[in-house]
């Protein structure tokens, strides 16, 4: 059922990168076209132009971010909370125009029909559009239509455009490998969105080959502003990763310090010139630290203005770099940060140190922050291992007979259902009466379940678990089983103590989250009423029939029919129908009788 992740990843080679870079520059200089395409026998390449003025990036406030459209980007959110990701408003606007006005979409579909691999690319702000287009394609074609075509995205000097939820979603969906961002060691553009707008950017109409972002005499101020703000963001995030106990940072809420929402995503390739080496960094937190630390002035004697100018001109050097093979994916020049982490604080020999000079020239605190990133990753894994112990028995886990396991607790319900059958009641009604020893015992199980799931949900909300936790198939399956078996009991308990309000207004997060995980995993669209909680709606309608407060009899009847139809469709939906689901025949029949 699931698309094999590796089969849809586009593997890059030097030829492809070269073509992509050249095409990106062509698109960048193009006067007319928003997208330049090139079709090779097996690959379709789309290069995006940055057709905007840089000032436009800040249209919606100091950082210009805005919520994504859920229809276009259903995956760009935190699943459980339903919290939408934010991206740069102008880039989103450009992309949406592209999708409706140009022939981009038809070209893409043509390529898909021809079963070509697809590569999206762009230089500078064009890279930002390309990134967004890639995320849209991954959602639309791979996730939704389940097409198995390799898709990739290569950018050159691309600014940051998405917030930490985009980063989270990309990690969660395992999309990181689709993105390769080439960044010159000191290029200012990939960092500039870490700062609010302060400078007046040059209009890019009089385009020559060498247009700068800002006037030369403004370069110093612009650079300093970016560096200061990059430092704020980097130290803020690094401090959080270090599990601090000091509370002053919490006091310094967003009210006091407004800093950039943008964070990197995908793999970054930092390119240095002296010597020509490449550092591949896959962890977004590490990328953020390096975006800042690589921009630091090398020493106290460094002239700031000169350095600032260099940083600006580096943005214009990708083509040149390509021509002297600086962007080649050469195994001798390339090194992965994840392999170097353990050498960061040691005196290991020259070989390791020479493997990437730029990295080892960083100061001790930079390396320290990179280690904090790694530690945080390990910590999340460890938290997940802790939770696993409460989910089901694994061979490796120590079995402690005090510990109740979610899976065991789930297995008890079918037995309870059976016993209730002897009482000629369905388990919902039986539990609502709650007058036998076995009802009491099940109630204890319900409480145990609730507490374990509450812990899981709390950790998800605090983001203390790996990004991919919420799409982990075992969790989704177990959560769905739990929800179908136990939510009717919670509803029964709720209406037994009938507190007046509707259950739907007080639905526990453990059911909201588990339902959304299931809906996301099966690409279904998010609903409020589901197969596990419709009984609550029926209860509310029942109450309306007895003592009408909000609805007329006719309205209730209509609502009832609506529910009845839903139940019917669910019963034929293979994603939903399951022996665990409680279909509420008795209570539905009772309501129908009342309405007759």
């Amino acid at each position: 059922m699931e698309v094999d992740r590796e089969s849809v990843k586009l593997s890059l080679d030097n030829e492809l990168i070269k073509t992509a870079c050249n095409l990106s520059m062509e698109a960048h200089r193009s006067q007319h076209d928003d997208v330049v395409t090139s079709s090779m026998p097996s690959v379709a390449i789309f290069a995006f132009k940055s057709s905007m003025k840089v000032d436009g990036m800040y249209n919606d406030g100091p950082f210009g971010e805005t919520n994504v459209d859920l229809q276009l980007f259903p995956s760009l959110q935190r699943i459980g909370e339903g919290q939408l990701a934010k991206v740069n408003g102008s880039i989103l606007h450009i992309f949406k125009n592209l999708l409706t006005d140009s022939c981009f979409k038809s070209e893409v579909e043509k390529a898909i029909k021809e079963e070509k691999k697809i590569l999206l690319t762009g230089y500078s702000f064009g890279g930002a559009v390309a990134s967004l287009a890639t995320m849209w394609m991954l959602d639309e074609y791979i996730r939704k239509q389940k097409i198995r075509l390799p898709i990739g995205c290569v950018t050159f000097g691309c600014p940051l455009i998405g917030d930490r939820i985009v980063t989270h979603a990309v990690q969660r969906e395992k999309w990181s490998g689709h993105f390769t961002h080439f960044v010159m060691e000191r290029d200012i553009v990939p960092r500039m969105m870490l700062a609010p707008k302060t400078s007046n950017f040059l209009k890019k109409n009089t385009r020559t080959h060498h247009d700068l972002l800002v006037d030369e005499d403004q370069a110093e101020g612009f650079f300093e502003n970016v560096l200061i703000n990059a430092s704020t963001v980097a130290s803020h995030d690094a401090f959080d990763l270090m599990e601090p106990t000091n509370s002053i940072k919490e006091t310094l809420s967003a009210e006091f310090v407004k800093f950039s929402p943008y964070r990197p995503f995908g793999a970054y390739v930092f390119c240095t010139r002296k010597p020509r080496q490449q550092l591949v960094v896959e962890n977004p937190n590490a990328v953020l630290q390096l975006l800042f630390y690589l921009l630091q002035l090398p020493n106290k004697d460094q002239n700031l203005a000169q350095f600032a100018l260099e940083s600006l001109t580096q943005h214009l050097s990708y083509e040149e770099e390509l021509n002297i093979n600086g962007l080649q994916l050469d195994i001798n020049k390339m090194v992965y940060l994840k392999h170097l982490n353990k050498h960061l604080l040691t005196t290991d020999g020259d070989k390791v140190r020479n493997s990437n000079k730029a990295l080892f020239e960083l100061t001790a605190d930079a390396k320290w922050c990179l280690l904090a990133v790694e530690e945080a990753e390990k910590r999340k894994e460890k938290n997940m291992d802790q939770l696993k112990k409460y989910m089901r028995y694994y061979k490796s886990s120590k079995i402690n007979d005090m510990t109740k396991i979610i899976e065991d607790l789930c297995d008890k319900i079918p037995k309870y259902k059976e016993k209730c059958g002897d009482r000629e009641l369905d388990y919902y009604e039986a539990f609502k009466l709650n007058n036998e020893q076995q009802d009491f015992e099940v109630n204890v199980d319900r409480l145990e379940q609730a507490k374990i799931w509450d812990v899981i949900i709390e950790m998800v909300r605090r983001q203390e678990l790996p990004d991919e936790f919420e799409v982990w198939d075992e969790l989704v399956a177990l959560g769905t089983r739990f929800r179908r078996l136990y939510e009717p009991l919670d509803i029964a308990n709720y209406y037994r103590h009938s507190k007046g309000d509707s259950y739907m207004d007080n639905r526990p997060k453990r059911y909201k989250f588990t339902q959304r995980w299931h809906e996301h995993a099966s690409v279904m669209g998010f609903e409020v009423v589901s197969e596990s909680n419709f009984v609550a709606v029926v209860e509310d309608l029942m109450k309306e029939v007895i003592t009408p407060t909000k609805k007329t009899f006719e309205e209730v009847k209509k609502d009832y029919e609506c529910i009845e139809n839903k139940v019917k469709t669910w019963k034929y939906d293979e994603k939903i129908t399951n022996e665990d689901v409680f279909w509420g025949e008795f209570i539905l029949a009772k309501l129908k009788e009342k309405l007759a």
Partner: protein, 635 residues
């Protein structure tokens, strides 16, 4: 789970973060301006949506001198001074006056007086009115003595905001401020979780933040000269040094060594001397290389000592005027890479080394003591968040124990002997079921005792006791189990040995849980099942967990009435009994008791019957006769 120590020393990273924000330079800018332009007053400015209030470090010394270094209770100094502004009984700092179990919260008399003078000025009142109205975040700041006024203002505003829902943030940055209060103040700030609202910048050698460790009377004249000269410089538009009368080198040396001796003594004396000054909040120690920021009181005192001792008589005086350079340094330190390179065995030691290098600034002999000092505050054991998650799982483990007791209660309440929950347990036999309830009660007690211990040892997140889940879980624990504890207390006859439960037998955990419940955030989640709507049926558990203790006490009064002959004592007893009757009938009327109270053979019903008979027998003992006596009101 295995114990683990924190793997990062974050004091340097925190200072780096704070330094990169505009808050520090903006605060300092206004401080410096207020020193020049607003002597004895303050300036207000708004930058980027944040309001800055800077108190001038140039203050009148007349009021200061005689009492500088004298602690006075915060409460005495404020209540009654001006009830018009103070707003009711609590004085200006209601939040800091509740604790009865420790020494009084005290602050320096002179500094408090300076604050009050500014506080009562109409211009300050107007500004604060505006700030409160706008609901914007506020930074209080000040250089030198101005910093102390900023701290007091922050404490005042934080106290005020306690009664406001979702108040705006308040933060206080001081530059070379003297200490302002005693240990109780420091603890009270800690307990209110306000430590994170204070950040005191202290330069390595500055004498001012260390001054109040020493008694000031012997060095009064030196001090006066020094303060005057400082203030002349601070007040001069071009920051001209050495204005006015200067201390001689000899006098400087006397001053330095005098203060150093007392700072030394403070560090050496284990435990804190009462009636001495104690720091609170965060301290950011600045050197010419950058800063580190720490919040542990012990570490702060040690660091204040270490860095001061490495200075000299002239440094300790000049450094008080160097904050501009330090702020510049801290906010621009990240522009350049530093040259140092070193290797440490782990990430924790890396942080320690980074921080110690920043502070020692090439004074090699200081590196080791500073490292030791930082290691003092290393957190051992899992993080508060991890602990809280573990506890939540623990809570799920005890849920069945509680459910069993609920089940037991339901059985007792419906049983034929009509004893009810409380009396069934009190008069229980040796059945297996009774024993199980007994054991469950013990286990639940252990669990909650442990929770409270962990919270008090700072092993749990700072807002733990305000999280809805824990407030409600603890309340339902208390309501269900405390009656059993009371029953056990009277069953075993402990009241005859130690006195009644309420005064002499109540476990401390219940008092703390009472406090959680009282202080719960009424805006928290799912409060809907605890609103004050009239009940239509009896509560499932009695809403006052001490109800039965009060019944037992009343019973002993009734017993005493029967055999007492002294009319005065008798009268007092009757007043007590009558008060109890009123309290109990009010509870029953509002249906705030559970049905077990009204079971036919419950202690309460038996007592009422007893009382009725007694009153019939002794009609002339009507309490009205003794109405002239003082009535004690039951809680």
């Amino acid at each position: 789970m295995e114990a683990e120590a924190s793997s990062f020393e974050t004091s340097e990273m925190l200072a780096r973060f704070l330094g990169s924000t505009p808050l520090l330079p903006e605060s300092w800018k206004l401080c410096a301006r207020s020193n020049v332009m607003a002597p004895q007053g303050f300036l207000v400015d708004e930058v980027g949506g944040v309001t800055y209030v800077a108190f001038s470090g140039v203050q009148s010394l007349d009021g200061l001198n005689p009492c500088c270094g004298n602690l006075v209770p915060l409460s005495i100094a404020t209540t009654g001074v001006s009830p018009v502004y103070g707003g009711g009984d609590g004085g200006l700092f209601p939040a800091l006056q509740k604790q009865s179990d420790e020494n009084e919260v005290m602050v320096d008399a002179g500094l408090l007086q300076l604050f009050l003078t500014i506080y009562h000025s109409p211009i300050f009142q107007n500004q604060m009115f505006e700030i409160k109205r706008k609901q914007k975040p506020v930074v209080f700041t000040g250089h030198s003595i101005g910093g102390a006024i900023a701290s007091l203002s922050s404490i005042w505003l934080l106290s005020y905001y306690q009664s406001v829902s979702s108040p705006p943030s308040v933060i206080c940055f001081t530059f070379g401020s003297p200490l302002i209060g005693n240990e109780s103040l420091s603890r009270a700030i800690h307990r209110q979780r306000w430590g994170g609202n204070f950040c005191n910048l202290v330069s390595k050698f500055d004498i001012m933040p260390r001054l109040l460790f020493a008694p000031l009377a012997p060095i009064n004249t030196h001090l006066r000269t020094l303060l005057k000269s400082w203030q002349l410089t601070m007040n001069s538009p071009f920051f001209i040094r050495d204005l006015g009368v200067q201390l001689t080198e000899h006098e400087k040396s006397e001053l330095f060594h005098f203060v150093l001796r007392y700072v030394d003594a403070t560090v050496r004396s284990p435990g804190v001397i009462t009636n001495s000054f104690v720091p609170f909040g965060n301290f950011m120690f600045c050197s010419s290389d950058g800063g580190v920021c720490i919040d542990d009181t012990v570490a702060i005192v040690r660091m204040l000592h270490l860095t001061f001792a490495s200075g000299s008589p002239s440094l300790c005086i000049n450094d008080h005027l160097e904050y501009e350079a330090y702020v510049d340094k801290i906010s621009l330190q990240f522009l350049n890479r530093t040259q140092d390179e070193f290797y440490e065995s782990n990430t924790y030691e890396t942080g320690v080394t980074l921080a110690s290098q920043l502070i020692s600034t090439d004074q090699e002999h200081m590196v080791k003591p500073i490292k030791d000092c930082l290691r003092v505050v290393r957190r051992i054991g899992p993080t508060p968040n991890r602990n809280s998650a573990e506890l939540a799982i623990g809570l799920s483990r005890i849920a069945p124990l509680r459910a069993q007791i609920e089940w037991y209660k339901a059985v007792c309440d419906e049983s034929d002997d009509q004893l009810g929950y409380y009396d069934s347990f009190k008069l229980r036999g040796a059945s297996k079921r009774d024993f199980k309830v007994f054991m469950n009660r013990m286990k639940l007690g252990e669990f909650w005792k442990n929770v409270i211990d962990m919270l008090e040892n700072n092993q749990l997140p700072h807002d733990f006791h305000k999280r809805a889940k824990w407030v409600y879980a603890s309340q339902s624990y208390k309501l269900l189990i405390e009656p059993l504890d009371i029953a056990e207390y009277y069953r075993s006859g402990e009241h005859r040995r130690n006195g009644h439960y309420l005064k002499h037998g109540r476990p401390r955990r219940y008092e703390i849980l009472d406090k959680w419940w009282r202080e719960r955030d009424i805006y928290g989640e799912n409060d809907n099942n605890n609103n004050s709507k009239n009940r239509s049926k009896f509560a499932s558990v009695t809403q006052d967990s001490c109800f039965w203790a009060k019944v037992e006490e009343a019973r002993s009064w009734v017993e005493s009435v029967k055999c007492e002959s002294d009319p005065r004592v008798l009268a007092a007893l009757w007043v007590n009994v009558e008060n109890f009757e009123q309290y109990a009938s009010r509870m029953v009327e509002r249906k705030e008791v559970s049905i077990d109270v009204l079971a036919k053979n419950s202690s309460y019903m038996l007592l009422m019957e007893d009382l009725r008979v007694l009153k019939l027998q002794l009609p002339y003992f009507s309490p009205q006769i003794y109405g002239v006596l003082d009535r004690k009101v039951l809680p």
